[in-house]
Amino acid sequence: MSSPDRSSAKRTTAGAKLAKTSSAKTASVKVAPKARAAPSVANEPSPQEKADFVKAMSKGIQPNTEAARKVDAKKRAAPAQSEPAETVKILRKIPAPGAVVNTAASEEALRVAAMIEKALADGDLNCLQPHAQQALIGALCKLYAANSEVGNRFPVVGGRTAVTATDVMVMCGALLKAVDLQVFELGMWQSWSSN
């Protein structure tokens, strides 16, 4: 029952903590794990605060509050008959669940993916040279993370895929190593940020 703002604030805090961890590591300063965990415990709301939050959520809008005034103002926004014609603005289009929206870049990416799959099937491991693989992996990693940050979460590989558990472990290990992260740091970040 937390708002998107709360969770993203939480993620940012966790991210900042992680940044601190890695910069501390580069400077070879040893920080005891307990000392690093302390701020997260201090920020934890008390059980009473949590109970009050849940109560406030289930009550709905209370009269004479800021929320009540805002909703009231929105409801009263209907203009009188004599006012000039209102304009219609499309704010957002939300596609049907599961609908595939193809863009030119998506089609190009699908073409490259198909080419790689075919080369793999033919045993041609040099179809993409390391620098090209690095560019693709780096860009996709950033794009996926940016989408996830704004709430566009989707499974990282499609349902019908031949990616094996070993492929995933090799790739994850290599990605962690590339940014000098240990598996336990990933675990800590996941538990702090609910990711």
């Binding site: 029952m1 708002s3 998107p4 959520m57 709905g60 809008i61 929320a67 805002k70 909703v71 929105k74 409801k75 926004a77 209907a78 203009p79 014609a85 209102e86 304009t87 219609v88 603005k89 499309i90 704010l91 957002r92 289009k93 939300i94 596609p95 049907a96 669940p97 609908a99």
Partner: protein
């Protein structure tokens, strides 16, 4: 109340939604099983964007003749949409809150004239 043109039916695929603004009002326009529905985008709970969350089939309990339960199933005919803030669930066809039918979102009439879609607001 005036008829406001919101788009072409042929460009509005089944299952799609548009959040539109008419004056200062925000309205969610849904196309579900060929029909159009339009509701105020202000959630009855705390004013969240009621029309922008998940759409999900209604959950119903099926009973045998002797009233023993066969379990919970997703309805094959009733669809709901869920406010993304705290999960208030509304009936797609009426805008009613599914567990308290006396509460409902403001519903706007939707007219189709040929391929043109209008919301009366």
């Amino acid at each position: 109340m005036a008829e406001q043109f919101v788009g072409k039916a042929s460009e509005f695929k089944d299952g799609e939604r548009q959040i539109i603004q008419i004056g200062k009002r925000e309205i969610g326009v849904f196309r579900h099983e060929g029909e159009f529905y339009a509701y105020s985008n202000i959630c009855l709970h705390q004013g969240g964007p009621a029309c922008e969350g998940l759409t999900i089939a209604n959950v119903e309990e099926r009973l045998r003749d002797d009233k023993t339960s066969m379990g919970l199933f997703f309805s094959e005919k009733d669809m709901n949409f869920v406010c993304p803030w705290h999960g208030y669930e509304y009936d797609m066809k009426t805008g009613e809150h599914i567990s308290d039918r006396s509460q409902k979102l403001r519903k706007y009439e939707v007219l189709t004239k040929g391929d043109d879609v209008y919301v009366v607001a």
